[in-house]
Amino acid sequence: MADKTENLEALMKLSLNGDKRAYALLLQETARFLRPFLARRLNVESEVDDLLQEILISVHKARHTFDGNRPYRPWAFAIAKFRLQDHLRAHYADHLRHAVELSEVENDLQENVTKSGMSYESISGEVEKLPPKQAAILQMMHQEGYTAREVAEKTGMKESAVKVAAHRAYKILRKVLER
């Protein structure tokens, strides 16, 4: 492994000359040392994979800016950090877009949350009439006892999206049950 890392610059020089095998080795090694860096900063494994692929594509696009005469790792990490920042910026912008206004949920907050006169089982018939995704989320959260984060991990959705879907389902149920 030590040999491989010492030769990253040499591999890049060969790659710039069109050596496909050297380039494949270089990209594999780059993915290997970047994965733990991304995994420490992102919670979801699928996001690590997606971002790692974006970074490898960026390395490919920018490979002409590396001449093989300076250390390779700082160059690759600079691109990785750049793409990570982009990803996080988009991620948090997405959170903001899906954020629920406090005024929208304050009616729910006023209700007694410690004691409910209604069980999941008593309204399960109405839950089943909801759109399948919303019904599945409510079932997981209220029958199986998962948190929004756990539901997000299980379904591959964003946690904020799970919360928004649940909130919309509550709204529909409220209307139905108030009739």
């Binding site: 790659s15 710039l16 000359n17 069109g18 050596d19 496909k20 095998r21 380039y23 494949a24 990209l27 594999q28 993915a31 994979d49 997606d50 790692l52 692929q53 490898l56 594509i57 960026s58 490919h60 696009k61 920018a62 490979r63 002409h64 800016t65 590396f66 001449d67 093989g68 300076r70 250390p71 700082p74 160059w75 990490f77 600079a78 691109i79 950090k81 750049f82």
Partner: protein, 211 residues
Amino acid sequence: MASIEQLVDRLAQDAAPVKPAPHPLTLSLGWAAAAAVYLVLSLWISGLRPDLAQKLHEPWFLAELGVLVLIFLATSLSAAVLAFPDLHQMKKTAWAPAGLFAVFIAILFFAWRADVPPAPLPVHSFECTASITLFALLPAVWTFLSMRRFASTHYRWAGSVALLSAFSVGALWLLLHEVNDSVIHVIEWHYLPMLGIGLAGWWLGKKWLKW
């Protein structure tokens, strides 16, 4: 998305020979040479200020001219360094213009203190900013176009420095062309607009240099 292994295979198949980018020093020297030609040609067409020989004996004018040239060279080099994802591992060089701008402010301050009694203000005002900006358009365009071929991970900073570099060429042209002894006018209409130019470059960098 495909797996990492599939992506690596696909990218490796695309690995045609690529010519590495030039060193930032070479790149900035190219920009500086082009700017020098442009400046000389423009001065040849527009004419040098008639009192230039006399002004070159004034220490504050000479200092202003010298530091402005250094600012142009430093911003060119900084822009070239910032065009690389890892700043070509020359981070300190990217910051070089900051020190020179500080020296420049000090020189303008001392020139203003030495301007006693103050030289009369010229009748024109914003025309100088407009002229410098128009003059700087061409160097700005070629610097940006050149930087787009690279991969800046500091695109806002790079855009800002690139525009300051182009604007300093314009400021040099006006310093050598316009007959004007008022330090106040020069600060107000030649150099203070650099702040706005820096901000415009920050915005343009995001628009044009993001990849």
